[in-house]
């Protein structure tokens, strides 16, 4: 297993796209921190990059990589290796290398310019988002045989998590405006890892605006150690469940 992971990581890190992604994140975060006179404001600009770019790149790259290494996977399957091991190693390789490029690209500038609780939170959620969306992407890849279809699916999924889900929430909020939805919103936010990460980061950042009644409920939940632990647990569930489903699909897949 270690050998496969090593091979996958070495293969990905040599990939020009990943180097470009790392460089892009690095330039972006350095310029954001240097342009804004207030580093907290820099974090805020970085927030959108992390919440939109990281899932998009993780998903699309992981999917394309999965399709491109179809022959490599076939070769591995012909060896005396368990399919579970092969799948987990591929996932681990992808997740580790994309997390590494996120850490180099965004993590190091954050630690340099804003080594506060907010910065650490942003770094943690960014790393988790990379892993989660790799898991979601390989699930999408394993369930679709056609490459174009698979990539299309992944882009739709990204659109859903980044945009449509929020629109849906807004729609539901207005449909059920007569009901007290504040507490339900805490549960709804768990349904989208991007929303959950955003709320976790914002609660460290924009406290005054979020202090309304909804904010108070969010704060009572997400502000406590229990809440933070629970939300990180939820994020972990978000990577474990798609990975587990994809592994089961792969085990019984006719290559």
């Amino acid at each position: 297993m270690k050998k496969i992971i090593k091979y996958v990581i070495a293969d990905i890190l040599r990939n020009k796209i990943v180097i470009a992604y790392t460089a892009f994140l690095l330039v972006m975060s350095l310029s954001v921190f240097n342009l804004e006179d207030n580093t907290a404001k820099g974090l805020l600009s970085l927030l959108n990059v992390i919440l939109l770019i990281v899932p998009l790149v993780s998903m699309v790259f992981a999917t394309i990589y999965m399709y491109n290494s179809a022959e490599f996977i076939e070769l591995l399957v012909s060896q005396p290796l368990k399919r579970k091991t092969i799948w987990l190693s591929l996932f681990a390789g992808l997740a580790l290398s994309l997390s590494l490029s996120f850490f180099i690209g965004a993590g190091i500038p954050i630690l340099l310019y804003q080594p506060s609780a907010t910065g650490i939170m942003m770094l943690g959620t960014g790393l988790l988002l990379s892993v989660i969306f790799v898991a979601v992407a390989i699930l999408a890849a394993v369930t679709t045989r056609d490459k174009a279809k698979g990539i299309g699916k992944v882009i739709l999924l990204w659109l859903y998590f980044a945009l449509l889900f929020d629109g849906l929430v807004l729609f539901l909020l207005f449909q059920f405006a007569d009901y007290p939805l504040e507490k339900a919103m805490v549960a709804v936010s768990a349904l989208n890892p991007i929303d959950l990460s955003r709320i976790l980061i914002l609660l460290q950042l924009d406290v005054s605006a979020l202090m309304g009644y909804t904010g108070a409920i969010f704060r009572n939940f997400f502000g406590t150690h229990l809440g933070i632990t629970l939300s990180f647990l939820t994020l972990t569930v978000w990577c474990v469940v798609p990975l587990w489903i994809s592994m089961r699909k792969f085990s019984s897949k006719d290559l």
């Binding site: 959108n48 945009l163 929020d166 807004l170 914002l202 005054s208 108070a216």
Partner: protein, 413 residues
């Protein structure tokens, strides 16, 4: 002549306190240990000097003009039963006491120091701890309350009194006091022509400074931090508010400054920093807000649609989550020459005034106003998309709420 002089001299030897010595020393280690007795024996205009130490002598009533002075802050303890100092006479000064543990009552407003129906009373340099009401002025005029440190640890608003409470008074001067942990820091009801300046008011349960039906007053250069709401001005006319700092008033119903049914006010040169809502104006008219700085607030200004003739001019809006919030489409107020850090316009003729108007109300703030749980989507991609489309084609936000002459650079305030 000589004889009379001799007579005075002899008299002064026998009863010195009445003629020459205008200072009567009382308290621990003195001939008179009871402070009340000292006051009773004093003549009008004398000074009663209280030695350092701790006193449990119940209520002290002052009914003649004199100076009651403490040496090294003698502690008057009310044993949670008594009102400590009651002043019934004009021209009284109370200076330099540590006054603590007054009684609590829901029938009468027991205070550390209470001024009853009089004038020209001065309360300076005292420390008041754990009293129900701190300093209370009732139907009094021309009183000075200066340099006192008032603190309490209150748990619930209904169980605690106000730091400085003034009722039906006129021409008061309240300055340089520190008030901490009471219900309201300073409360003015039916008080007129008074000046509240340079006070530091922190951590009070309800309001830092509270006006009710108190006209023609001003408060200048005060600091309000971490109170339930910084200042509440209610049902009041002609209040001048200048150079105050409103900081960190956080909470669901927390405001830096709450204006309720007020008119003809001036709000100038104040700093609003890190409040949930900087200014909340409801049913207010003819207010001039000039040269204020709003920084890092949730909402800088919430201007309800029932306000009219509010002028918002030459203010800086920097780093607020929302600049202006409102609850309707009717706009009877004017915004002019403000600096908005969210302004994205241009200035072709270089006159430092933006060429296109700025609309400070974002559609997302309207959504949150109608549907508070939508706060969940704060800073999400979809809300910024909504805001951008609304900027191009306003439909939900009030058409007329705009600054036609936004400044390109922040004002030096």
């Amino acid at each position: 002549m000589n004889k009379i002089f001799l007579l005075y001299f002899l008299l002064s030897l026998t009863i010195p306190c009445c003629i020459f010595a205008e200072t009567i020393k009382v308290g621990n280690g003195q001939a008179i240990t009871s402070i009340q007795k000292g006051i009773d024996t004093a003549a009008p205009g004398d000074t009663v000097l209280v030695a350092a130490g701790s006193y449990r002598q119940g209520n002290i009533t002052i009914n003649k003009p004199l100076v009651l002075q403490g040496l090294n802050y003698p502690a008057l303890d009310g044993e949670q039963k008594f009102e400590l100092i009651s002043i019934h006479s004009p021209y009284v000064t109370v200076d330099g006491f540590l006054i603590r543990n007054s009684g609590h009552s829901s029938m009468t407003d027991i205070s550390g120091i209470k001024i009853y129906n009089t004038h020209h009373v001065t309360v300076i340099n005292n420390i008041l701890e754990e009293n129900y009401f701190g300093i209370y002025s009732q139907q009094s005029k021309h009183c000075t309350i200066e340099n006192n440190r008032i603190s309490a640890t209150s748990i619930a608003t209904e169980l605690s009194g106000n730091g400085i409470h003034c009722w039906k008074s006129d021409s008061l001067h309240i300055s340089n006091n520190h008030v901490k942990g009471h219900r309201d820091g300073i409360y003015l009801e039916f008080v007129t022509h008074s000046l509240v300046e340079k006070n530091t008011i922190l951590n009070n349960l309800r309001y830092g400074l509270h006006f009710m039906f108190a006209h023609y007053n001003s408060y200048i250069n005060n600091l309000f931090r971490n109170n339930g709401a910084g200042v509440a001005v209610m049902y009041t006319r002609h209040v001048i508010m200048k150079q105050n700092r409103f900081e960190d008033n956080w909470g669901d119903a927390a405001y830096g400054l709450l204006l309720k049914e007020i008119s003809d006010g001036t709000i100038e040169g104040n700093h609003f920093n890190g409040n949930t809502i900087g200014i909340f104006a409801d049913g207010s008219s003819r207010i001039e807000m000039e040269k204020n700085t709003f920084k890092s607030n949730g909402w800088a200004i919430r201007l309800q649609a029932n306000c009219m003739d509010v002028k918002v001019e030459k203010n800086n809006f920097i780093g607020n989550s929302f600049d202006v919030g409102t609850n309707g489409s009717l706009v009877l107020n004017t915004f002019k020459n403000n600096y908005w850090d969210k302004y994205e316009g241009y200035d072709l003729n270089k006159d430092q005034v933006g060429d296109i108007p700025f609309r400070p109300v974002s559609v997302y703030s309207m959504i949150v106003e109608k549907n508070p749980p939508a706060m969940m989507l704060f800073r999400s991609f979809i809300t910024s998309l909504l805001d951008k489309t609304e900027k191009i084609l306003p439909s939900l936000t009030p058409e007329d709420l705009k600054d036609d002459y936004p400044l390109m650079k922040p004002l030096a305030l």
